[in-house]
């Protein structure tokens, strides 16, 4: 990490602009879209309203239309009026679902705004259903409700719900936490194995894995910056966190690997041997996109909590200048190492009042604005170039081999605007 020392004071101690108002973000249910693809024998049953079903469909419907491994148990008038016992209804729906899908080994009951407001006890339901459907199916619960979770916090809540069920262990193990596409996960494991680090487990596992364990000799690293509750749950189980910048870009990936390598006593030569070639490839790929990005300004609306590590990548590796870095939540224990590396200057904002933030973005006229799908086209029509944030969560962007793709995601809107000769008036 020494070759990437910050140039001056970083952003860790920059005063944070905290805002409260209308938020233009998804709720935590959205995480189901990628979690159900990652965990291939899991089913996600949202207990909620027609709105929840419509959200999942709108966020995912156009992308995947296989028979999905998620569904919504829609609460109806009779459930709310107490005419039907919601717990009995749930038992019936789950039994019907599991009979139809014998391939399911793990069922998540996912709480929503309405189920939280009527205080439907899904934890009790999960315990009861686990006993009923043991040993074939394990039933867990978490909340993806909009009154408690923002977008990627859904994954955090899901992974945190799996921690208490991990087996106890005293052996020294490395646990890597965060849902990554399989191809990226394999690259990550390959890099660490090349350094001689074995005995690695991933949470979540691709298929139900009863050997996943945790204990006082477990160390864990996060691959995603939004896993605050999972981080706390693992620490409660005695595991130790390895804080590091997140593995985006060449610098971030190297720093992240270095922290793990140091923990496992990997010598410099071995580390270099394992990383030299992919580092060079990453630098080369980033350089291609940097031609477009260099010297451009960027403004982040809060969305996925990836904003801080991405701002670090774009400012330090792609030559961009950050104007505002908005994030739904600021977990300094997780993103502190990234904040240290971002040169002081940008506004760091937490939470959102979308109309005020739009006013700031319009005044700043950034070259590139990172925002959600509800804002992107309206801003384009106002002449601002945008990158929709959700693509950053749905695209493989971690580690060396994807570093160029990550930079290209930001370069493409700028290149596109330069190509189109007839403007963007709608």
């Amino acid at each position: 990490m020494n070759d990437h020392a910050p140039l001056g004071p970083g952003c860790r101690d920059t005063p944070v602009l905290k805002e409260r108002g209308q938020r233009e973000v998804f709720c935590g249910l959205t995480g189901i879209i990628w979690l159900h693809r990652k965990m291939q024998d899991a089913f996600f049953l949202v207990v909620g309203s027609r709105t929840c079903a419509h959200l999942l469909q709108s966020a995912a419907g156009v992308m995947i239309f296989a028979e999905p491994r998620f569904a919504t148990a829609i609460l109806e008038e009779k459930d709310l009026a107490g005419l039907a016992d919601a717990q009995d209804e749930l038992d019936r729906e789950v039994a019907r679902l599991l009979a139809r899908r014998p391939d399911i080994r793990q069922l998540f009951l996912v709480g929503s705004c309405p189920s939280e407001v009527i205080k439907l006890d899904l934890h009790r339901a999960a315990e009861r259903l686990s006993i009923k459907h043991a040993p074939h199916v394990r039933v867990l619960n978490y909340s993806g409700s909009g009154i408690e979770t923002t977008f990627t916090q859904g994954e955090d809540a899901c992974l945190a719900s799996m921690v208490p069920g991990l087996r106890d262990t005293d052996s020294r193990e490395l646990l890597l936490v965060g849902a990554l596409p399989d191809v990226v996960e394999d690259q990550m494991l390959g890099l660490l194995r090349d350094m001689g680090i074995d005995n690695i487990r991933c949470l979540p596992a691709r298929r139900t894995d009863d050997t996943l364990a945790c204990g006082p000799n477990t160390v864990f690293a996060l691959t995603q910056p939004f896993l605050g509750d999972t981080h706390a749950a693992l620490e409660r189980r005695g595991a130790r966190h390895l804080p590091a910048p997140f593995p985006f870009g060449e610098e971030g990936t190297t720093a992240w690997l270095r922290v793990i390598a140091d923990e496992f006593g990997v010598d410099r030569a071995t580390f270099d041997r394992a990383t030299q070639a992919p580092r060079a490839r990453a630098r080369k790929a980033i350089a291609a996109a940097t031609e477009t990005l260099n010297g451009k300004s960027i403004f982040f609306f809060p969305d996925s909590q990836l904003e801080i590590p991405l701002a670090r990548f774009l400012t330090r590796e792609c030559g961009m200048t950050a104007i505002e870095i908005g994030t739904p939540f600021l977990h300094k224990a997780l993103t502190g190492p990234d904040l240290d590396l971002i040169p002081a200057g940008p506004t760091i904002s937490e939470g959102q009042d979308v109309d005020l933030q739009l006013d700031r973005a319009r005044a700043a006229r950034p070259d590139l604005t990172v925002c959600g799908l509800g804002l992107a086209n309206p801003l384009e029509a106002e002449g601002l170039t945008t990158k929709w944030a959700i693509e950053l969560v749905f695209t493989p962007v971690h580690f060396y081999e994807q570093a160029g793709d990550l930079a290209a995601l930001f370069a493409r809107p700028l290149r596109r605007r330069a190509l189109l000769k007839h403007g963007a008036s709608a």
């Binding site: 209308q22 709105t51 709108s58 148990a73 679902l97 029509a381």
Partner: protein
């Protein structure tokens, strides 16, 4: 509790958003948690709108529930008025806010805002999107429209089009032009394209044209009763319906029904010999009630198809669709359960589906061509080109749209003739569709496939109908677009004859039996 995989309609507050987003000068303050803002992207992404929907979400969180969410609502309402200065405000609750019972209507009224505030009661746990749009538009009209002197020249209002509507944008253009040709002026088109001040002058029209009963009927009925405006009952989708609509308008307006229809091409295109192959194609119809009813008439009377099943997802239209189905000699399927629709299609094995984007996916899975006739919408339902469903041009668009998924007429003959030709075979698909032509599978593979076979349909009792390998192989030689029908007919014939096995002979006996 009802298990749902995909839904045809969103919650009712999304219907209210469709009204607000279609209009100008109206703002919607929605008591809702964060996350409900996902609905913005329906408009900005699917419809490619260049502005945010005029909706302020109060964004309450779990920690607010113990204290006072009512303050949050009032602050949001005041800020929204100050920032957007709308001519009128609608207020309501999403599903979660309905549970905390803050009474947004009462709160907003107590604030003394200088513009009309219209409270919406949209029961989220009973009703759905179309109801939400219909009820919202009705409330807006009820609060703002007043009786007034009629316009000097004969005029009408166009009622029903909303944001995110299936082809509403182009239907309005087409029907406005048609009315102009008949000598009828359009006073106000609403909700889409209108402002609250436009709604206030709706009373000047002599009658109303109701284009979308799903989203405009309650308002049309209120206007009939309170403004003395009769409304049209025919939705002008298809040649026959457009003719009936013209006659209806001519009568209401006291004008001549003579109109230049030289742009209308559907009748000749359907009559020309290239279309002979369309004769009796079995189609299954599913969508909203209005579009399904219109499509049934076009399918049978204007395209020469056979309607083998129909249904709608909006229960509000269950009665008319049931009656219509009876007239067509089929069973109506009234459901919003996508799996039920899939099962019905699988059982009927139609040669084509006329449905929604959901049925398009069902068709993809079952290998049945599908044309989209109704909402729920998809980004593809907002084409850049002019593409109405209504009026003369609408009929032309429908002809093209319905024929496109099929293999073309002459091509169909060639496929029949050359069957197992190495280039000209099933897997190659229709020649005008994208995708790489695949080579024909090796004959061995075909034999293997036929032995491992498809699942054997079960007869009643212990009997199981078995397809013999030769028959299965022969079935494979029948072109894919009629294979489903051949299989179904053969199995029905075998059941009729009490056979347990299907041989090549059975296949051809069934063919002769069902020949027409």
């Amino acid at each position: 509790m009802k298990l749902t995989v995909w839904t045809y309609e969103g919650p009712p507050h999304v219907g209210a958003m469709r009204v607000a987003t279609g209009m100008t000068g109206l703002h919607y303050v929605l008591h809702a948690p964060q996350g409900d803002t996902y609905a913005d992207l329906l408009f900005t992404m699917i419809e490619r709108r260049n502005h945010r929907p005029p909706v302020t979400y109060t964004t309450f969180q779990a920690r607010d529930l113990g204290s006072d969410t009512a303050y949050l609502f009032k602050d949001a309402c005041r800020d929204a008025y100050e920032r957007f200065k709308p001519q009128a405000i609608i207020v309501g609750a999403s599903c979660t806010a309905e549970l905390i019972q803050d009474d947004p209507g009462g709160l907003a009224e107590s604030m003394g805002l200088p513009v009309p505030v219209i409270a919406l009661e949209l029961p989220s746990y009973q009703r759905k999107e179309n109801f939400g749009a219909d009820e919202t538009f009705f409330q807006v009209v009820r609060h703002l429209a007043k009786p007034m002197a009629r316009s000097e020249r004969v005029s009408c209002n166009i009622l029903g089009p909303t944001g995110l509507g299936f082809r509403h944008r182009d239907d309005i253009t087409e029907i406005t032009a048609l009315l102009y040709d008949l000598g009828v002026e359009v006073n106000v088109t609403a909700p889409m394209g209108s402002s609250p001040s436009d709604i206030a002058r709706m009373g000047a029209a002599h009658f109303n044209v109701l284009l979308y009963p799903e989203t405009g009927e309650a308002a049309a009925r209120w206007c009939e009763k309170n403004l003395g405006q009769p409304f049209t009952k025919t939705v002008p989708i298809g040649v026959g319906a457009t003719g009936d609509f013209i006659a209806e308008v001519a009568k209401l307006a006291g004008v001549s029904p003579a109109v230049d229809d030289s742009r209308l091409r559907l009748p000749w295109y359907a009559a020309s010999v290239d279309s002979t192959y369309l004769t009796g194609k079995r189609v299954f119809l599913f969508g909203d009630g209005t579009h399904v009813a219109a499509a049934a008439r076009i399918a049978r009377d204007e395209m020469g198809f056979t309607v083998c099943g129909m249904g709608c997802y909006n229960r509000e239209f269950a009665r008319p669709i049931r009656a219509l189905a009876k007239e067509y000699g089929v069973e109506a399927l009234i459901t919003d359960d996508y799996l039920e629709v899939e099962a019905a299609i699988e059982a009927l094995a139609p040669e084509m589906i006329l449905g929604t984007q959901m049925e398009r996916h069902i068709g993809k899975r079952l290998g049945i061509p599908c044309a989209v006739i109704s909402a729920p919408v998809h980004v593809q339902d907002f084409p850049a080109r002019y593409s109405p469903q209504m009026g003369f041009e609408g009929a032309n668009v429908i002809f093209d749209t319905w024929v496109h998924p099929l293999v073309m007429g002459l091509e169909e003959h060639l496929l029949h003739m050359f069957r197992d030709d190495f280039e000209f075979h099933d897997a190659a698909g229709a020649s005008h569709h994208g995708g790489k032509a695949t080579a024909a599978p090796e004959p061995d593979t075909i034999a293997d496939l036929s032995i491992s076979g498809k699942k054997k349909p079960e007869n009643q009792g212990a009997d199981v109908l078995v397809w013999l390998a030769d028959a299965e192989k022969e079935l494979k030689k029948i072109p894919f677009f009629v294979r489903g029908k051949a299989r179904r007919n053969t199995e029905a014939y075998a059941a009729l004859k009490g056979l347990q096995e299907v041989s090549v002979d059975t296949l051809y006996e069934a063919k002769a039996h069902y020949a027409r």
